[in-house]
């Protein structure tokens, strides 16, 4: 009898403790939950909602327009141009900065005394104000007084109008993008490289992988899988989010040749104040980010694992 009562007491005491712990947890998490609702969840819901309206800042009234904004987007030449330019920029910047980042990491990994120096140098752009460095690049790319074209004319090559011509502007911006992200990717790859156990290389050597290239494909590349996937996703998302250099140097020009997604959203929403239409664009932007994340999870599930 008494033992049953005692067990019941213990059980209810445990339950009481669990309840009070749960209450404390709610209290501790409450500020985060409130702010998350206020600054993330509600705004996302609002963007989706506004995308179905013709809301404009400054006008009191708005009405529902259904999918009209989205239908309009399909035929909007600026928006299509902007999607295309963002894709081109991403297709250049992401692969080049990943390959260079990996290359530099591998070279630095084998370097002896100068290792710390090189790591510092390559990482410098990550710690530099990109808006400020963009103005330096503008000077370097200047068609008449810029050092780059002065250098080219020394070897007798007529330099292009880097940021001023519609056929080169996107690639000039890509150069800045690559310059900025190589060091970031390098640091991530370096972290991945140091996590590879040394014995694996010794084992590969015993197994007949004599050349550095053999060892790379037998050990380094497969072991680097998770890091590479991470770097690929981050590089693509960062490239899709390009804005600072465009706003600073070209304003989307010349002739919309450097209109990119975030710049177009910025113009529509915050300059022309067509919030409804810009919201529809934002939804497309968010959809792109969601697809990128889903792709990452799929690959993660399928291939990238080791024991």
């Amino acid at each position: 009898m008494s033992s049953v009562a005692l067990a019941g007491n213990v059980a209810s005491a445990a339950a009481r403790r669990a309840r009070s712990e749960d209450r404390t947890a709610w209290l501790l998490a409450a500020p985060a939950i409130v702010l998350l609702l206020l600054f993330v969840l509600l705004p996302v819901a609002a963007v989706i909602f506004l995308g179905f309206t013709d809301f404009e800042l400054g006008y009191g009234k708005f009405r529902f327009v259904g999918f009209e904004n989205y239908a309009h987007l399909l035929n909007d030449r600026t928006f299509r141009r902007s999607l295309w330019n963002t894709s081109v920029y991403t297709a250049v910047v992401a692969p080049v900065s990943i390959v260079l980042g990996l290359g530099v990491a591998l070279l630095i990994e084998g370097e002896g005394r100068a290792r710390g120096f090189f790591r510092t140098v390559y990482f410098l752009p990550v710690a530099s104000l990109i808006v400020a460095m963009a103005t330096v690049w503008q000077y370097i790319f200047h068609p008449t007084i810029g050092p780059l074209n002065a250098l080219l004319s020394l070897v007798g090559v007529p330099g292009p109008n880097w940021l001023g011509a519609s056929n080169t502007v996107l690639y000039s911006l890509s150069i800045i993008g690559i310059w900025q992200s190589v060091g970031f990717n390098m640091v991530l790859f370096l972290a991945g490289l140091t996590a590879i156990p040394r014995e694996l290389y010794a084992a590969a050597h015993v197994d007949g992988a004599k050349s550095a290239l053999d060892r790379f494909f037998l050990v380094t590349w497969p072991m680097l899988g998770p890091t590479t996937l991470f770097v690929v996703t981050i590089s693509i998302t960062n490239a899709v989010k390009v804005f600072e250099t465009v706003k600073m140097l070209t304003d989307g020009g010349p002739n919309k040749a450097s209109e990119v997604l975030l710049f177009t959203i910025y113009q529509e929403g915050f300059v022309y104040l067509r919030v409804g239409y810009a919201s529809a664009m934002t939804v497309v932007f968010l959809a792109i980010l969601v697809v990128l994340m889903l792709l990452q999870y799929r690959v993660l599930d399928r291939r990238v694992h080791y024991t």
């Binding site: 702010l35 710690a127 808006v131 640091v187």
Partner: protein, 276 residues
């Protein structure tokens, strides 16, 4: 000579060439900041200025850009953002990782969703709301949207899960309240994660142009990137000497911090990995 293998020479040469490419903009920035206008127009490849014009260019930059205000705004905004992010995220991460929290699962889903949403996606409704509340051009509008960092929650969560439970049991046996445990046991032990996150957060917000550009239109609240943009727009012309001087001053604080605390920087970025 023959004792140095060719592979090492090639590696060193490649690394040096790359390093030169990375450093080129900095070299030209410093060199141009010391040139006269005519120098800039005639000899762009000469790295050493013909007439040392550093003092004049810096004076011009300081006269036209309220440098102290910009840097002060940058420090205030980044400092406040970091403070709130940590104060909000640590208790939440602790509750999710170390307490019997029935909503922990749901919170995890929210955090993962939040990781996906950058400020660019929430900017429109937030702008409309701040406009309605007449909060544009204020520190509040610059700081508020970033007080919640799901990334901070995510990072601290992983850090706390790896922390030994004995530490918490001992503190509870001593009769500490949960809030006391967070303040006196968790925070001091989470220091490496806090510094790593500090570097991530400050780099991201010191550099951000998008949000300040949207909510600020007055010089008085401009952050460094925004101030530099105003200066460039106002100068418009080709006074690259003064522009490079201003660029140099504005880039310097973070670069100096990086050079002083390199190891922490690299660790911080590796640990946090994400950007923006």
């Amino acid at each position: 000579m023959t004792s140095i293998p060719a592979g090492r020479i090639i590696r060193f040469a490649l690394l040096s060439f790359g390093a030169l490419m990375i450093l080129a903009p900095y070299i030209f920035m410093i060199s141009t900041a010391g040139k006269t206008q005519s120098d800039i127009f005639t000899s762009s490849l000469a790295l050493i200025p013909q007439h040392f014009y550093f003092a004049e260019n810096f004076a011009k930059a300081f006269a036209k850009v309220p440098m102290a205000t910009l840097l002060w705004n940058g420090v205030i905004v980044c400092g406040l953002i970091f403070f709130f992010q940590v104060v909000v995220a640590i208790p939440c991460a602790y509750a999710m990782a170390n307490l019997k929290f029935r909503a922990a699962r749901l919170m995890m889903v929210l955090v993962m969703l939040g990781l996906l949403v950058p400020i660019h996606a929430t900017a429109l409704p937030l702008y409309v709301a701040f406009d309605r509340m007449s909060l544009l051009n204020s520190y509040t509008s610059l700081v508020a949207p970033f007080t919640i960092s799901v990334f901070a929650i995510f990072m601290f969560l992983q850090f706390f899960r790896a922390m030994p439970d004995d530490l918490l049991h001992a503190a509870r046996l001593d009769g500490m309240s949960e809030l006391g445990i967070v303040a006196r046991v968790i925070v001091p032990n989470a220091w490496p994660a806090v510094t790593a996150f500090a570097i991530f957060s400050v780099v991201a917000h010191w550099n951000d142009l998008y949000w300040p550009l949207i909510v600020v239109s007055k010089q008085a609240y401009a952050t460094p990137p925004l101030g530099l943009m105003y200066f460039r727009a106002a100068e418009a012309g080709d006074d690259y000497g003064a522009l490079m001087a201003a660029t140099l001053i504005i880039t310097l604080p973070l670069v100096a911090a990086f050079l002083l605390a390199q190891k922490r920087f690299v660790e911080g970025i590796t640990m946090t990995g994400l950007k923006g």
